[in-house]
């Protein structure tokens, strides 16, 4: 609990600082860092170029990562699948985020996920371990003894859950899911990706899922959510395996509002955010804005 408060304090201070800066009270802040864009959607580029552009549109990585800060980047590495099978986050996109964090002076970028298949298999076949390491990240496997129970006083059903210590101790938490079909949440995006830093028996969260997934998300706020929709998995998710179920949508969504980011990604599946129950619950609890019309959004296509 103590850790969470401190983390949130730091995040809130950073956000407040950024907000203050946007009033241009501090002329020495670069103009990019003063952006108040909440959601940036970039299409039709390479995964790396789109990620870079999207974060730049939000006001560059410097808006989120200050010099010397510890970054925890959480992609989806859950499955023993190849990048083209679209079950894990795109490795090039992950590597680009690592680079951007290091460019603005992050003291370290740690990349991890609690996988569903054997961890070494997932880290290897996803291509993420290699790509992220080459970009300068610390790629780590989950150690079961490093989960700490976090109280969730406002949780409706889930009142406490073990979270991974590295996440709780990070200064900046970046959530980086891939957009996939999922039979219970309908689509698995940022909210569901948080499962990868949870300990305990995560299977328990799968009934009354819509409420429980919002509950656990109340304990942790990503500074930045980047949704990889370079390839999306339309069927047989979240593990996939059939290339016929993969669509190359060439889109990257980056946002400070995690509800809005998930809501936008849903449109790629021709699903209205209002039909995704957990987003409604999350919006009702004030975790973000579901109505994209009310979000400061930029949409950019790289191939002009």
């Amino acid at each position: 609990m103590e850790d969470i408060s401190r983390r949130q304090f730091i995040i809130k201070s950073a956000v407040a600082g950024a907000a203050l800066a946007s009033f241009s009270a501090f002329p020495d802040i670069t103009s990019a860092a003063a952006s108040d864009t909440e959601l940036a959607v970039v299409k039709n580029g390479t995964a790396a170029a789109m990620v870079r552009k999207a974060v730049e549109e939000l006001g560059d990585m410097a808006r989120f990562v200050k010099k010397g800060q510890k970054v925890l980047l959480k992609p989806n590495i859950g499955w023993d699948r190849l990048p083209e099978q679209a079950a894990n986050t795109n490795p090039e996109a992950v590597a680009e985020v690592v680079k951007m964090c290091l460019e603005v002076g992050a003291s370290r970028v740690r990349v991890l996920d609690r996988t569903c298949n054997q961890p070494q298999r997932c880290y290897t076949r996803s291509g993420i371990e290699k790509a992220a390491k080459e970009a300068g990240a610390e790629v780590r496997h989950i150690i079961e003894s490093r989960f700490q129970t976090v109280q969730i006083p406002n949780g409706q059903i889930v009142k406490s859950w073990p979270f991974y210590k590295d996440v709780l101790e990070s200064d900046v938490f970046i959530n980086m899911p891939i957009a996939k079909d999922h039979s219970i949440s309908r689509i698995t995006l940022g909210f569901k990706n948080i499962m990868g830093v949870l300990g305990g028996d995560r299977g328990d969260l799968h009934n009354k899922f819509m409420t429980k997934i919002v509950d656990v998300n109340m304990a942790i706020k990503p500074s930045l959510t980047i949704i990889d929709a370079y390839r999306i998995l339309l069927k047989n998710g979240p593990s996939g395996g059939n290339l016929a179920d993969v669509a190359e949508t060439k889109t990257i969504i980056a946002g400070t509002d995690r509800v809005a980011a998930d809501a936008y990604a849903a449109t790629l599946f021709d699903v209205d955010a209002k039909d995704i129950e957990y987003l409604k619950i999350a919006a009702d609890r004030g975790l973000g804005v579901m109505d994209l019309a009310k979000v400061k959004m930029k949409e950019i296509s790289l191939s002009a």
């Binding site: 023993d80 569903c116 070494q120 219970i184 009934n207």
Partner: protein, 510 residues
């Protein structure tokens, strides 16, 4: 000679350990991890007899057997890793400087021949028993199910302690990461049969208190087999006239192979260790090539041979007729690529190599107890509540020394059915509580998932009508990998379970 022997023993023990540790994910196949298992002449002969097949991978064992004729039991003295372990353990548990006044008892020496006879007779009638006694299989099995898991437990504990110290956390993680890539598994292996297997192993070491190399002298049927072949060896222990009759060579002989006339040694029992050369103070003992005129009787009377053969037959009949059903329980889910059951039981030497490599990835395999009948004790079975067969893995077939599990291409293995999943509707959350769950479906690795949903309205326990996704198994798609059962969040028996029903076996490639 003693130093050379010790170096050889240590090198082969280290090679054994290296190959053991190498049998893990990601298995590149650069090193033959089943080398020692395939080098055991006893395993080779008994398995080939029992399965009525020539197993070309085991030809090395025949070479060793052939070399035994001129060279004697060099395998026992210089190579056998269990022998080395027993030598080490004997040093630890036996009091030093104890000078036996009289020669140790020869009473149990014939047992190993009796065991060999019983094992071979059983093999002729297609009952594989060699797995219990073969020293290589025995040591590999003990390593897999007991020693290695215990080592991992302690090593992980040390790393956990180091990782909890903030200051050295990064260095500790780097070391831990290296360990996990080389010799530590990603998850603690645990086995049902560990305690039984450990008790047997501990018993073998403890027999060292009765006599040195008690196992090798009196019980090991591989030693017996090599002893028979070394009867005519061409190495000669020569004792010169200067012998002072001090008896040091006799009391120093770990195999008790030197007769009361110290110039005579029993070539069937001698393991060429060279200890007698080293203990002889006046250096009267030497080693030469030449026809050995030593005592070379096989300590097995015709009566004993008949008794042992009958015991083998009786054991065979008892095991084959034990009223433990092989198939009806459906619990004997075999590794993918297993050959048909009766051949499988003939070939499998229970070395647990497959179990060992599986523990480094999906961890579904366990040595069975009675799930596949009395004849199938310690054969590998998948226990899906504990682990599952990784969709992208075919390693068990790559390390099986006898090809009881065939080495299948990954694409073929991915489609091969080990068994079939069934829902237990009294335990599955959507079925008994009318609440959505999906964990089984989410994890199903098949490109076209074998678990699908029947979405319809149902009345919940609270009386409300709601839409529920009721899962069901599509039999034509399910391969019985068991990840659904492993990941099922129901506490206790899962809401979905796999049995061996509809399993597909692979014919042995000859």
């Amino acid at each position: 000679m003693r130093t050379a022997r010790r170096i050889s023993q240590i090198i082969f023990l280290l090679l054994f350990l290296f190959l053991f540790l190498y049998a893990r994910y990601p298995f590149g196949g650069q090193h033959p991890v089943d080398l020692f298992l395939q080098a055991s002449p006893l395993t080779a002969i008994a398995t080939m007899i029992a399965s009525r097949a020539f197993i070309s991978e085991m030809v090395l064992a025949l070479v060793i057997l052939a070399l035994t004729i001129p060279l004697g039991r060099f395998f026992c003295g210089w190579i056998c890793p269990l022998g080395t372990v027993i030598d080490g353990s004997d040093r630890l548990i036996r009091r030093k400087k104890r000078k036996p006044k009289t020669r140790e008892s020869l009473r149990f020496r014939s047992w190993k021949f009796a065991i060999l006879a019983a094992v071979l007779v059983a093999a002729i009638f297609s009952l594989q028993l060699v797995w219990f006694f073969d020293p290589i299989a025995l040591l590999t099995r003990t390593m897999t199910t007991v020693l290695y898991p215990a080592f991992v437990y302690l090593a992980n504990g040390l790393f956990a302690a180091a990782l909890s110290i903030g200051l050295i956390e990064d260095q500790a993680y780097a070391a831990f990461d290296f360990a996990q890539r080389t010799f530590l598994p990603i998850a603690q292996p645990k086995f049902f049969e560990g305690v039984i297997i450990f008790t047997i192993f501990a018993g073998i070491l403890a027999l060292g208190m009765v006599g040195r190399r008690f196992w090798c002298r009196n019980l090991c049927p591989l030693g017996a087999l090599l002893g028979i072949f070394s009867k005519f060896r061409l190495t000669k222990r020569y004792v010169s006239e200067a012998c002072t009759d001090c008896s040091l060579c006799q009391s120093g002989c770990r195999m008790n192979a030197i007769e009361d006339d110290y110039t005579v040694n029993n070539t069937v029992e001698c393991i060429e260790c060279g200890e007698c050369l080293s203990v002889c103070k006046p250096h009267t003992v030497s080693y030469k090539f030449g026809k050995n005129e030593g005592k070379n009787e096989i300590d097995l009377s015709r009566r004993r041979l008949i008794q042992a053969s009958l015991a083998g037959l009786a054991g065979l009949a008892v095991v084959k007729t034990a009223a433990v059903s092989r198939n009806k329980t459906g619990l004997a889910i075999r590794p993918p690529g297993s050959i048909p059951e009766s051949e499988f039981l003939d070939r499998c030497i229970r070395c647990q190599e497959c179990v060992r490599i599986c523990a480094s990835t999906g961890a579904c395999l366990q040595p069975s107890l009675l799930e596949s009948g009395l004849e199938g004790v310690w054969t590998p079975i998948a226990v899906p509540r504990i682990g599952y067969c990784e969709y992208n893995c075919n390693l068990c077939g790559k390390v099986c020394p006898t090809n009881a599990i065939q080495d299948l291409p990954l694409e073929r293995k991915q489609k091969l059915r080990m068994g079939m999943a069934y829902f237990d509707k009294s335990r599955c959350i959507p079925w008994y509580r009318q609440e959505d769950c999906l964990v089984c479906e989410e994890h199903c690795p098949l490109p076209d998932k074998a678990i699908k949903f029947d979405v319809r309205e149902a009345r919940g326990p609270d009386g409300t009508i709601r839409v529920v996704k009721f899962p069901y198994v599509v039999e034509s798609l399910c391969t019985g990998c068991g990840i659904c059962e492993t990941k099922c969040p129901v506490v206790g028996p899962a809401g979905i379970f796999v049995t061996a029903a509809k399993e597909e076996r692979v014919e042995a490639a000859s």
